[in-house]
């Protein structure tokens, strides 16, 4: 992968250990998907759920904080795994609420807006046409790609925060404009059937590619 001078400086640690760590991962990701270069990132959306990430995920975020990591782009987050306002109504395992709270604390230090929503595109974090995203939320990424014309892969929960800290991400998949060109055209003849028709067309295309 071709790196810019600025990418190389980040990789050499000139912008601190968190940025270097992030760039090391992003270079490997770019290599795995044969990206030719990195692009600037404009928006990020992260995983908050302790049940999913577990202890390793908590340590991952806290380590980024310790290294002085800070999100360089507007960053929101998915819902957490518990209702803090009604915590006492449930029988949480010992230490669980504290772990979930430590994730929120780490997010605050990283500069993440604590929105706890699956729909950042509806108000908190709305990207513009052509901007590059690292969002972990599939529904939001689909909307942003197709309705807003922003560019993003359905990003994994490790690469998303690291791309946000580096402010860069490898260009592959839907981040590459070459992969965003339509490959088939369907015409709807009865608009009243459009929902069912769209589903049928979608399934037919999916089966064709499978």
């Amino acid at each position: 992968m071709r790196l810019s001078d600025s990418d190389k400086r980040k990789l050499d640690g000139e912008e601190g250990p968190a940025v270097r760590h992030a760039m090391e991962h992003l270079v490997k990701m770019g290599g795995a998907f044969e990206a030719e270069e990195m692009v600037d990132l404009h928006s990020c959306h992260l995983l908050s759920d302790y049940r999913t990430m577990g202890e390793g995920g908590l340590e991952f975020y806290e380590q980024l904080v310790e290294w002085g990591g800070i999100m360089r782009v507007p960053t929101t987050c998915d819902p957490m795994s518990m209702d803090m306002k009604n915590m006492d109504k449930f029988d949480w395992p010992e230490g669980y609420p504290e772990k979930q709270t430590r994730i929120s604390d780490a997010f605050r230090d990283l500069g993440v807006a604590l929105t706890f929503s699956c729909t950042p595109h509806l108000g908190h974090n709305v990207p513009k046409f052509g901007e590059n995203l690292a969002w972990v939320e599939g529904n939001a990424t689909g909307y942003a790609n197709s309705v807003l014309g922003a560019r993003g892969n359905r990003e994994d929960s490790i690469t998303a925060p690291l791309a946000g800290i580096a402010g860069r991400t490898p260009k592959f998949g839907l981040l590459d404009p070459e992969n965003r060109v339509g490959e088939c055209l369907s015409r709807s003849i009865r608009t009243s059937w459009s929902g069912w028709a769209a589903t049928a067309v979608g399934l037919a295309i999916f089966r064709h590619w499978e």
């Binding site: 490997k28 990701m29 999913t52 577990g54 390793g56 995920g57 359905r154 929960s157 490790i158 690469t159």
Partner: protein, 142 residues
């Protein structure tokens, strides 16, 4: 003596890992509610690997599905509970599996040149994944 075959593929997460193969031809997710972080046992109703442990195995499946949180679940399996697989082979890598295995240091590969991985490798075979070289050595179960 057991038959040994060598396959070639595309490196995703670089490294060397070996173990007994656990094989299916369906998508899978490392998400904690699908494969428990603590035990590494698949708990996905009607999935061909349901009830099987992935810990220390060379895991072979189609590609990643479900939550993007699978990447951090994989990292927790590897670093906290030691329930991660020894290596992973996909038909085609998805970001979720790629990001998870790269960050956790679990060797992984995809796009095996000789064919679909589940046609070439069976559960119980001994498999060595060398994704530095892009090579998979399979010792068939005798």
């Amino acid at each position: 003596m057991s038959e040994t075959i060598t396959l070639h593929g595309h490196p995703v997460s670089r490294g060397v890992g070996e173990g007994e193969a656990l094989v299916c031809d369906k998508p899978l997710s490392f998400i904690a509610v699908g494969i428990s972080n603590e035990e590494g046992i698949v708990r996905i109703d009607k999935h061909p690997l349901n009830g099987q442990s992935i810990a220390g195995k060379v895991l072979i499946y189609d590609t990643d599905i479900f939550s993007t949180g699978g990447a951090l679940s994989m990292y927790t399996k590897k670093t906290i509970y030691k329930t991660a697989p020894a290596a992973v082979i996909w038909r085609k890598a998805h970001n979720i599996g790629a990001g998870g295995t790269i960050y956790a240091g679990v060797p992984s590969m995809d796009q095996i040149e000789e064919g679909l991985p589940w046609d070439l490798i069976s559960t119980g075979d001994w498999v060595k994944v060398d994704s530095e070289q892009g090579i998979v050595e399979v010792t068939k179960k005798s």
